[in-house]
Subunit: 333 residues, 2 copies
């Protein structure tokens, strides 16, 4: 098996644990034996548990000797909650390490050097983009900035309305798109809404399957705003309520709680505040092929008064989600 093929399998491993490892990164690892056959698979365990390399080495056992470890992130060389992975790789007799992304965390970095010093060959950058834009995207952002990665998700009509003029909005987007959002919710740490959304829609912000049953992993629901939550609201006892309108205060409070990736779900005023502060790292728009011609817009008060101040984005990806368009875009840097 080539290192690229093994890395694709390591990525798949890491995808299985997305949302379950914060504040640690969701890493995937595949061990190839001396002949290049995959003999061990592993992914990061929840906080305090083993790292991906250790899980994969455990499965490989003695077959790891003389083999290759293919891992989505540079193996760590420091003692944290668990011993360094570099030691485990050396002890198992691994001869080659292939990783996708170097560790940007100064405390954990240096793994490649430790390995090289022990006579292990190290190759970096294999499927680097797939990993850094995929499973490790949020964690890399968090490691570099100290802030959780924010995806602003909204569903609107083709003409940018999130509801009709009477306020009805169920359902602008298709069942396929709504199911996709529930799957996404289960893969990240927190969902943020404004207190206005709680008053208007009384959301539960849970991740549910097609039959309406809760998925195994549930994100932390977060409500942002000064006013108390309505009595009897679904989020009254489950949500973290942050009494501020400052996106940076919100993100600092979440980072303290080990939140790496958040989904900003609304409403328009809160989205405007995050955009104005430059705290939207990705826009995920579900655009329904419908026209409303009236009704509230997806974003309000983004701080743009003239066209040259528009928040310019780069489209990363456009796909169909059932009948809807799914647009993923990032702010232009």
């Amino acid at each position: 098996m080539t290192p690229e093929d093994a890395m694709a399998l390591a990525i798949a491993e890491s995808e299985r644990v997305r949302g379950a490892t914060s504040p640690n990164p969701p890493v995937g690892c595949v061990i190839l034996d001396e002949g290049g056959k995959a003999v061990g698979f592993g992914a990061t365990r929840p906080i305090g548990g083993a790292h991906a390399e250790v899980m994969a080495l455990h499965e490989a056992g003695t077959k790891a000797r003389g083999g290759t470890a293919v891992v989505t992130l540079e193996p760590c060389a420091h003692y944290g909650r668990t011993p360094p992975c570099t030691e485990a790789l050396k002890e198992a007799g691994i001869k080659h390490v292939v990783h996708a992304v170097s560790d940007p965390n100064p405390r954990a970095a240096g793994g490649a050097k430790v390995l090289t010093d022990a006579g292990i060959t190290v190759e970096s950058g294999v499927l680097e983009q797939e990993v850094s834009r995929g499973p490790l995207r949020a964690w890399l952002h968090y490691a570099r900035t100290g802030r959780p990665h924010v995806t602003w998700k909204y569903a609107a009509s083709l003409d940018g309305r999130v509801a009709a003029s009477d306020g009805t909005s169920q359902w602008i987007s298709s069942e396929t798109s709504r199911r996709e959002v529930h799957e996404l919710r289960a893969k990240l740490d927190a969902i943020i809404v404004g207190s206005g959304t709680v008053k208007a829609d009384d959301p539960a912000l849970t991740a549910r399957d097609a039959g309406g049953m809760p998925l195994a992993r549930q994100p932390l629901p977060v409500v942002v705003g000064m006013s108390d939550l309505p009595r009897g609201a679904k989020l009254e006892h489950t949500a973290l309520h942050l009494r501020t309108h400052d996106p940076d205060e919100v993100l600092a409070a979440l980072a303290e709680r080990g939140v790496v990736e958040v989904l900003l779900e609304g409403g328009p005023t809160l989205a405007g505040a995050f955009l104005r502060a430059g705290r939207v790292d990705r826009v995920l728009a579900y655009i329904a092929p419908a026209l409303l011609g009236d009704g509230p817009a997806a974003v309000l008060g983004a701080g743009v008064s003239t066209i040259t101040d528009a928040v310019r984005l780069t489209v990363e990806d456009v796909t169909m989600s059932g009948p809807d368009l799914r647009v993923s875009a990032v702010p232009r840097t």
Copy 2:
């Protein structure tokens, strides 16, 4: 050459004359000799001129004898401004006719029967969808309904704004998208704007090339609205001014002038009136990857007050136009 390959060439022929044949359809024709070799190409000449079949037979000359005529529309069997194409095909000794689309016009239809009666084999439906959704789309709509085909085109930000809150809008969409619109303008018969747009933007509504020079074909500029055009406006002496707000009155006036295909360019109120009346046959949205958060919307007053009344569309096609999304959608029937 297979009939499909020849039809693809006939479609390309017809594309070259789009916008130059109204109220006649832009038809393309390829003549294959007895051995299946393409020996003649033709497309509809401007009104009063020869039809595609006659043009292609002229080029093929005696090589047409025993051959096949591949044509995007069923050959006409009636005396209009020119003699029937069925006669020309018979005289040229054509043995087989392959067409994509049957003629919906009762006055011109019956061509297939005339040909069959003369011992010519006739096959219909080859690349039918490519033709009926492509070069003959507007004309087929016109032939069936008596109304010009209306494409509503707009450019907006991802959040559905056509301008910033101070009214600036140059340029929301990219140069690539703007150039595409100019090429589109040259391929249809008329462009409609509201008198509000004339006051706000003073558009020329010409089709220009990348260097700003006018293209060979120019659509008829049409201004809809009660108020007089401002003195000195670029459209003051060039535009047809229709003093009505009723889309059906606008379309009837244009149909009388032989207009088959129009581009509705704005503004939001006029777009709302056409949508409300069910007179938008296709929506062409250029969506710029930018967020404005304030500013006017693409459509106003579409007659939708609650979500279940939304004008539902089906997305036909999504492509990138430079950095912009280009979405083509049709009302759901």
